[in-house]
Point group: C2
Chain length 339, copies 2
């Protein structure tokens, strides 16, 4: 497997790109986090309870960091990037709440999903509330063009999720259709997060397009790696269960590639577990062995690496700066976490 990065790279180096981005954005991110908590408030107790449970479980805050980093990159940060970053994180959290209802997931970020505690109805409605609050924050920036970028993203993300739903357990799903799904459901928010950050930072048209392309490629890499980790991660590494995607009938690339090449016996085994919440762990292990046989997890990561290269390429026209170097490193980090 040819990778642009050494697979035996030191663990400390891998995390350090993220650590450096955390450090470089820490001032802005403290303001973003404060705004997030403030806007999750409500006189209806259940709203902040549920929202904070999800928000405080953390996650890497990759998307809002991307927004403030992009603004910083162009140097004329107006303050709007703080609101856009919080709005992007609210959009993301609204999606997570709705996804967990759609997928009937019981775990999220290593804890019981909110719906297991407050129920599906509250998860749907608090998601809607967060989306409304996200648009309120966007309005406060007064930047209707950037608002349009995020509104379009909201529609495309939902459309991508419906497309994924329509493809559930569809054995004929192609790699191109899979790419269409992840470009919409995941990469779109990375793309919009980076683009509105660039806009808030005073980027010109070329800079805006560069960050948009960077975000889209980064988001694709991110999802491809997630889809590998779903089968290969150590239990709990994703804060979810191993094999969740298969049990939910989700047609991800490692599975699509395997179905294209495996024999009838292997195919039957896969089909017997696909979309079955009660599929036994032993069957899952056999299916992962099939993936290893056809090298589909590594091939999925190679695909992710192509996106990483494209993300770095997107940055190439921008003037050199420490932040630009950091964003390039972060693209690599996205894939390195799979090793």
């Amino acid at each position: 497997m040819a990778l642009p990065v050494s697979a035996d790279l030191d663990e400390a180096m891998v995390t350090s790109a993220l650590d450096r981005l955390l450090a470089a954005t820490s001032g802005d991110m403290a303001r973003v986090n404060a705004l997030i908590l403030e806007r999750a408030e409500s006189h209806v107790e259940m709203v902040p309870e549920l929202a904070r449970y999800l928000i405080e479980a953390g996650g890497k805050r990759m998307r809002p960091m991307l927004t403030v980093a992009a603004a910083e990159l162009f140097g004329k940060a107006s303050g709007a990037e703080i609101k856009f970053a919080a709005a992007v994180e609210f959009m993301h959290n609204a999606t997570l709440l709705h996804d967990d209802v759609v997928d009937e997931s019981d775990m999220r970020r290593g804890r019981p999903a909110a719906r297991m505690i407050w129920g599906n109805p509250a998860s749907v409605l608090v998601g809607d509330f967060l989306l409304g609050q996200a648009f309120m924050m966007m309005v406060e920036t007064g930047d209707i063009e950037a608002l349009g970028v995020l509104a379009r993203a909201a529609a495309i993300i939902a459309e991508g999720e419906v497309f994924q739903l329509a493809k559930t357990r569809d054995l004929a799903t192609t790699p191109a259709e899979y790419e269409q799904v992840i470009r919409a459901k995941t990469a779109m928010l990375f793309e919009a997060a980076a683009e509105v950050g660039a806009m808030a930072g005073g980027a010109d048209e070329a800079g805006r397009l560069a960050m948009r392309a960077y975000g889209a490629e980064l988001g694709c890499a991110f999802q491809l790696v997630d889809d590998v980790l779903d089968y290969r991660g150590e239990s709990g590494a994703m804060g979810k269960n191993i094999g969740d995607d298969l049990r939910e009938g989700k047609m991800t690339l490692p599975l699509i590639l395997a179905l294209a090449e495996c024999d009838e016996t292997e195919r039957s085994l896969i089909v017997s577990a696909l979309g079955r919440q009660d599929a036994p762990s032993e069957t899952l292990a056999e299916i992962v062995a099939i993936f290893e046989r056809y090298d589909t997890l590594s091939r999925t990561l190679e695909r992710a690496n192509k996106n990483v290269l494209a993300a770095r390429e997107a940055l190439s026209e921008l003037p050199p700066s420490p932040m630009k170097a950091l964003l390039a490193d972060i693209a690599e980090f996205t894939v390195l976490r799979a090793y």
Copy 2:
């Protein structure tokens, strides 16, 4: 029961206010309907299938009519009101899709709810898509102030729904809490629909505030009447089942007023059916008899009539015009449909 309208009013007169509003807004509403169908399109087949199923089932389109009527009232309609009206209807339909999942409703507008055909996941996600498309249309108007009115409405509606959820089967729910719920979950969208219509029509601050107050009062009356019809409507009049609210554990005013006055035996009967999807029709009939005994359905309608008077009062400062007279009549129609 003292009512500002004659209870033996001719049926033809009742419908004629709505008919006259339909006629007065028919040109604009044809454009709104075309835009609605256009924006429900998607390359993902399930999206327009589900959206059209819901949208074509109709409903009275009260909210978008309110937007175009308000714009017409101030005479300087800019075209933005068409987009705002379609956006308002999308917001409404997104709410319906999510509500049916939350309430586990099997009927909507006289047909099986979308979730009974396409499932809960698709209903959640297509709702999200419609909300995204709604914001896209608002962005296209370029009017960020009006967009802010609708974004705030989206957050408040969801917050009201969560509040209602938190109060499910809560016997201590007060009339004031009920009013808080309906002002948020229902009246807020009427209020915003009227306000952005006024803005698109070039209203001054006073005109905008008048229409906002009118919409809020109209929306409250509308919900109060819905809550009466849930117990008293002929089967199918609402396109839902009689007693759905009680079976869902919803604390509406007819129930709250009855609980405050009934004796222990009556209370026990109500509690035995509250929130029980399988509560028998006989029990429902006995509970409606309790409501009649304490006159709570009529008292709820009296409350609605107060909102109607307030809605008409809100219009009083505006210059006389045929549209103003029509809007005043429509406020009365809202309650008359309960007789």
